[in-house]
């Protein structure tokens, strides 16, 4: 005889998380990604001291290896992690037809979407937490004691949000096209387009305002100045969405430090460097956080809307 049961929102949500982890974690590419990431970070940690040793350079401890790790982890690396984590999230269900039995279970589409998105965040958290622990242990073993380890959680949050900007774009394209291939290739097209456009803009105009609001590496800021015809010495780093983790750590550490953005202009047949804008690291990081969250909100909202409207027309 039929039994009366009731699925609460939480049981449904946890079931979707569990389903998603069974779905995501067994993917060979996720395992492959872990191995790749592990290999790259190992090389990054071990190669410089090995080369120094080979070249007879005396080894000097670097107490910022872990801190700088959050600055180095960006660009194509971040994008590839995003694609591998999210390219099947929704489109994979449509492609295999498993969306049909899933959508007929007593869990709302909103909960399914939320569960799948949160599972992507948690998968990234797992990957990055693993990497951070590895880099920290490796850094301490190879380079000695490390600075600012207390800021790692902040860096991790920023790194996950930064990756999810690309991840949410992949989810959006996957939900619209219902094809993992279109999601991966389409988002790669966007990534390469943004990267090339950013590079061209940076070469022609310098660190112009538009780069503050573009996804990816964004504008490069410097704690040094922008003298005519040259860039003055100082710490320079990207301030785009990809570097949110590092920016948040910098905010906590050097929030009041001024960051200068240098522009280029042509005068008398020569390129001249000038100070296009400047702001405190705190403000730049806050803007970076806002831009990141705005991209996330827009991409995820559009994905959610497309998923809500999806009709299972074709025979499953």
């Amino acid at each position: 005889m039929a039994k009366q049961r009731r699925t609460t929102w939480l049981t449904g949500f946890l079931a979707i998380l569990y389903y998603e982890f069974l779905w995501n974690l067994r993917k060979k590419k996720i395992v492959g990604l872990f191995i790749l990431v592990f290999a790259i970070v190992t090389l990054e940690l071990a190669l410089p001291p090995l080369l120094d040793y080979y070249n007879g350079v005396p080894l000097t401890p670097n107490s910022n290896v872990v801190f700088d790790f959050f600055n180095r982890l960006s660009g194509i690396f971040l994008f590839l992690i995003a694609v591998a984590t999210t390219m099947n999230t929704i489109s994979g269900e449509f492609e295999t037809g498993s969306i049909t039995p899933l959508l007929t279970k007593p869990v709302s589409k909103n909960t399914i979407f939320l569960g799948k998105t949160v599972a992507s965040f948690l998968t990234l958290l797992g990957i990055y937490a693993f990497l951070t622990v590895y880099v920290t242990v490796g850094g301490i073993l190879i380079e000695g004691s490390q600075n600012n380890l207390q800021l790692i959680p902040l860096g991790l949050v920023g790194l996950i949000l930064a990756t999810m900007v690309w991840g949410s774009l992949v989810i959006l394209l996957g939900t619209l096209s219902k094809s993992s291939l279109v999601a991966a290739l389409g988002s790669f097209g966007v990534w390469i387009g943004v990267t090339i456009a950013g590079g061209v803009l940076g070469s022609v105009f310098g660190q112009t305002t538009i780069l503050f609001y573009a996804p990816g590496s964004g504008a490069t800021g410097s704690t040094g100045g922008c003298g005519p015809g040259r860039l003055e010495a100082g710490g320079a780093f990207a301030t785009g969405t990809d570097n949110l983790g590092y920016m948040l750590m910098q905010w906590a550490l050097n929030g009041s430090t001024t960051l200068n953005f240098c522009g280029f202009r042509f005068r008398g047949g020569a390129t001249e460097t000038f100070l296009a804008s400047s702001d405190t690291i705190a403000n730049v990081a806050l803007r970076d956080l806002g831009v990141t969250l705005a991209y996330l909100a827009v991409f995820l909202f559009l994905s959610w809307y497309a998923f809500r409207r999806a009709q299972i027309i074709e025979s499953a």
Binding site: A2, K3, T7, A15, W23, P101, L103, S108
Partner: protein, 292 residues
């Protein structure tokens, strides 16, 4: 427009067959019932509740097996039932017990730990039935449950469906196999081009199928007097070809004795008398043909 003004009532604790030619709108109707498709207009009630759109509360009380179901291939049969059981809010103990019971019932005992990707089409069909019954739903909707099954599997599915109803549940299933429907259904609904052509019991369908109920009569030697005698019968129209007469009957009664008498009185000798039509297939063909 796949479905238009479709009116369908399924009574509780019965097996209701849903028939129609390819493209009639069966799967579209079922997908609307389970929330996979949203109707452009009109109302849709299931278990007394408005069913249009995303309604988890209704799906809590329904078990659904899609036509040619597809499940995540990397999951094992047991894992699939476990994860779906979580979605129904079943306890761990309940999930384990129910999975073992259902795997046995659908003939997948001992294969529960195999990945679904390694299942044959028939086995995927069986796990599809198992997941539809997982939560002991009040209403079980099966879309072409026999597709992909061998003859033995088809018989087993029929037995399973009968078993579900014996357990107090209601089964609504679509099929293109008229014999299957005839063997297990209490009620049938026939649709075509999204319109209901018939809904009622299998006995009722005889009335609908009346125009196609016919009796083929072979006599030793055909004659004009036999033809006139048959034409005089008030319940039949007659077609003659040599010594074979086809009578289209307009009554449900057994009129073989009247026919026999009429032929004898006209000097004829009956060699063979065979009734054709009146079954589900004829009703189906008659309704669909008429509608087309």
């Amino acid at each position: 427009m796949a479905v238009n003004r479709l009116n369908l009532t399924v009574d509780a604790k019965q097996i209701h067959g849903f028939l129609g030619p390819n493209g009639a709108g069966k799967t579209t109707t079922i997908k609307m019932l389970v929330g996979l498709l949203t109707p452009d207009s009109g109302s849709l009630k299931i278990l007394g509740m408005d069913a249009a759109g995303d309604k988890p509360k209704i799906r809590q009380r329904i078990g659904y097996m899609p036509e040619l179901p597809k499940f995540p291939k990397h999951l094992t049969g047991e894992e699939l039932l476990d994860v779906y059981g979580r979605m129904y809010g079943m306890s761990k103990e309940e999930r384990k017990q129910k999975a073992a019971e259902l795997l046995k019932m659908v003939g997948l005992e001992g294969r529960g730990r195999d990945k679904i990707g390694k299942y044959s089409k028939g086995m995927q069909q069986r796990i599809g039935i198992a997941q539809a019954l997982l939560s002991d739903p009040e209403l079980v909707i099966l879309d072409e449950p026999s597709i992909g099954l061998d003859p033995v599997g088809m018989v087993e599915v029929r037995d399973m469906v009968k078993g579900i109803v014996r357990g107090g549940q209601t089964v609504f299933f679509s099929s293109h196999l008229l014999t299957e429907v005839q063997q297990i259904c209490d009620h049938v609904t026939i649709i075509n081009n999204g319109l209901t052509l018939f809904t009622g019991t299998l006995e009722d369908i005889a009335t609908v199928a009346m125009p196609s109920r016919r009796l083929v009569l072979e006599v030793q030697k055909g004659s004009d007097s036999i033809l006139q005698a048959l034409k005089a019968l008030p319940f039949a129209t007659v077609e003659a070809k040599d010594n074979v007469y086809t009578l289209h009957l307009s009554t449900k009664d057994d009129v073989r004795a009247d026919i026999s008498r009429a032929v004898s009185n006209a000097g004829g000798v009956i060699l063979k008398m065979q009734e054709e039509g009146g079954g589900l297939e004829d009703a189906f063909m008659s309704l669909v043909g008429k509608e087309a």
